[in-house]
């Protein structure tokens, strides 16, 4: 590209120096805040003051960080679900729907099973049931993909709408098993008390956050060391090599998609044993499933990084929402703009990790 007498080129880097892996995300974040700051300034808010408030309410205050961790918990799970499938080049877009099914499945277990279970087993059983129903929701797309090569992108995405309407039907459209029978107000039936976890003190952080972080660490380690992790990495890198080595691609594809669905289902189950305690249509509003894909992409499908990006994302969300309550209230849409800017710059920043920007002065050549 030529700008006046200057020539601007992107040259591919042969190697990316280590410091760039840290510098690019930090630089991206910085640029995003500048763009957000322009928006703030235009709408009559002090950029610095607003950002300070945002960071305080999202990350540094006790109340802020505990709220953020509570929000991050299901987000870590959906982020792991997306990362697990995407790193295998299996584009499961259906975390949202699988999460709803996890909510439905775990609520069923919490209502129907938990009463017959000893206290210590109730929560694990409810969580596992949620994971299983999440996996079940991706079973059909997974089989179609593994056996016939049908695009899992379309099939998993479409099932999100089915799942959405299923939840609406259970709560608003019918007076069935999941609906609270004690009131005519449409809301979910509360699960057994033994199947619920209470939050830490008066915070909104639940013990499930430990499970979510533990899962990230466990997955990171397991996929690095196990034969399963090895075979999936070969298949992801080169299907022909996997075939050459006699690996069972069908089985691997199936298992990866099912486990991804289970992780997304677990996000819904954690919502049930934690804050919700029932099938709660409120989950339909927050979009943890889709956000999980973004979180995974930002983390470049690294399980450990998913934890960090999920917390960053949750913090921006919590902090952004609370900016509405201040002396000079900032509309929620500005917080959304900021989130979008963070995303764009983080993804765009990748270009600078892989390429080097080069600006040279060009001499005017006489046309031949």
């Amino acid at each position: 590209m030529n700008v006046g007498n200057w020539r601007v080129d992107l040259e591919p880097r042969l190697t990316s120096p280590k410091w760039l892996y840290a510098a690019v995300p930090i630089g991206s974040l910085f640029c995003a805040f500048i763009v957000g700051g322009v928006f703030l300034a235009f709408t009559g808010h002090s950029p610095i003051g607003t950002f300070a408030l945002l960071i305080d309410r999202g990350f540094t205050s006790t109340r802020g960080i505990t709220n953020t961790l509570g929000t991050a918990t299901p987000l870590i799970c959906t982020g792991l679900a997306a990362a697990f499938a995407f790193r295998m080049n299996l584009f499961n877009i259906g975390e949202e729907g699988q999460m709803y099914l996890g909510m439905i499945g775990s609520a069923w277990a919490g209502i129907a099973l938990a009463g017959y279970l000893p206290g210590f087993a109730a929560v694990p059983v409810v969580l596992l049931t949620g994971a299983c129903t999440g996996a079940l929701w991706v079973l059909v797309p997974a089989v179609l993909r593994a056996k016939m090569g049908t695009s899992e992108i379309v099939s998993t995405l479409l099932l999100n709408y089915v799942a959405l309407n299923l939840v609406n039907y259970f709560i608003f459209g019918s007076r069935g098993f999941f609906r609270d029978p004690t009131t005519s107000f449409p809301q979910g039936r509360v699960i057994e008390a033994s199947a619920r976890l209470s939050s830490f003190g008066s915070t909104r952080t639940y013990p499930t956050v430990i499970i979510a972080v533990g899962l990230a660490v466990g997955l990171y380690w397991f996929m690095k060391r196990s034969n399963y992790g090895y075979e999936t990495s070969v298949l992801a890198d080169s299907p022909n090599t996997a075939r050459y080595a006699g690996m069972n691609a069908t089985k691997l594809t199936l298992s990866v998609l099912l486990f991804s669905g289970a992780l997304a289902g677990l996000a819904g189950a954690m919502y049930v044993v934690g804050p919700a305690g029932k099938v709660d249509p409120g989950l339909l509003q927050v979009g943890f499933g889709y956000a999980g894909i973004v979180v995974a992409a930002l983390a470049r499908y690294n399980f450990m990084a998913v934890v960090l990006t999920a917390i960053l994302f949750a913090g921006l969300r919590e902090g952004g929402a609370s900016l509405q309550i201040s002396t000079n209230p900032v509309p929620i849409s500005i917080a959304v703009v900021l989130q979008g800017a963070v995303l764009l710059f983080a993804l765009g920043g990748e270009v600078f990790r892989r390429n080097r920007l080069r600006v040279r002065r060009v001499q005017q050549t006489v046309g031949a």
């Binding site: 196990s226 034969n227 080169s238 022909n240 090599t241 050459y244 080595a245 006699g246 050549t365 031949a368």
Partner: protein
Amino acid sequence: MSNASSEAALGSHRLGGATLFALSARHVTKRFPGVLANDHVDFDLLPGEVHTLLGENGAGKSTLASVLCGLYKPDEGAVLRNGTQIRLTSPRHGLQNGIAMVHQHFRLVDRFSVAENVVLGHRNLPFRLRTNDLENQVAEVAERFGLPLDPKASVGDLSAGQRQRVEIVKALYQGAEILLLDEPTALLAPPEVEKLFETVRAMTQAGKSVVFVSHKLGEVVDISDRVTVMRDGRVTGSVARGEADTRKLAELMVGRDIDLSPRRSRVAAQDTLLHLDNVGLTRDGVDHISQVSFSVRAGEIVGIAGVSGNGQRELAEIVAGLQAPTSGEILINGARVNGIGIRNVRKAGLAYVPEDRLGTGLAPSLSIVDNLVLTRKRGFFVDRKAALDEAEAFIKQLEIKTPHAHTATRKLSGGNSQKVLLAREIFAAGDNSRVLVVCSPTRGLDVGAVEAVHKLLDEARAAGKAILLISEDLDEVLTLADRVMVLYRGSVVHEALGSEVDVELVGLAMAGLS
């Protein structure tokens, strides 16, 4: 500085008068990120001359050709046409100066006819195209240079050799005086190569000049009036016909003495390890392999020659267990292995080096260590410690050039990644695997790497392996094989002992003319 010197050089050639070069490069330098592709290269082409640019992959010969035809602009230096400096801005601009390049990968439209492809991109076409006139013109040009072509034929139906003829006719039709041919024989069968050489001679007789870009030593000596050898972006020598033999040229290319003489088994062949009995593969009513029978004994290499696409890939996959034959029997160590899957065939004692080394034999983004793990026995957890020791031993022993054992195999050169693959299949598989199927093991490799690969295969043979070598490179088969077979349309059409091969007969058999 470089400008001044090129002007001086330019002047002297003008004054010289007698030797006016059709095309010259003066101190051409071209850089790519991390690579100095051409480092002050000088090159001269006489009118009516066949001049070969010889060099290994990455030596910079294709870069120089691209500079000469106008595809790349040199960072420094100048290109001279008939003694006058020209500044080419595009290949079209090059064509206006009578310079055309035929690329290794053809740039033709499959759905168009030969005549349509030839006139494609020609600026001075009449508004209304008279197909008949065009076809006659194209046929006339083709005829003049001994290039038999049907101008009405659809390019999609043509063989590689015929497509190449279309490219050449296209260049001639558009008025090319200088033709740059990039690896022109890579896709041709021996009789087609001979035809190409006839065309080249017809062109030089008409006063046109031809630049051959090649890394194949043998053919270069046959056709060239002069050979300019490049290594690491520099010219290492320029010799006229008869001044140097292949061995000398190889030394200029690689920078050290190279031994490419035939290698034959030095031990008497022992018991049969691999046996094929009437093996056939029919799919969708098409016979891909029909009634192939042969055996390979311990301590010998059986070579299968043939032009690409005559069933080599299918034969290899059948023996390796990736495809099941639809008829016949395959025995490894006397045990039937038909359709038992590649894992079990491996257990029965087979190692397999596929043609596509990066992408089938090796996982490109995975490290050397992880690629060695690929055919190892793995428990629930992967033991990378043993594989790491193995990788480091191989790197030392086979002189694999890599920063370390955790480097992704795609970052290695072709020769080095092939060494990793061969090491795994020959040594890492253990003594249990004694049958080795190797497909085109040196395709695209440098002369130095070819020598190393051939040495490895020769050593494996001496160690008592039974090796089936399937290669589209006839020279390779003739260099290594104790017995030679030719595969044509899925059948073995010719068979001979390696030491008594009649090259002419093999060439005819490859073209289906036996």
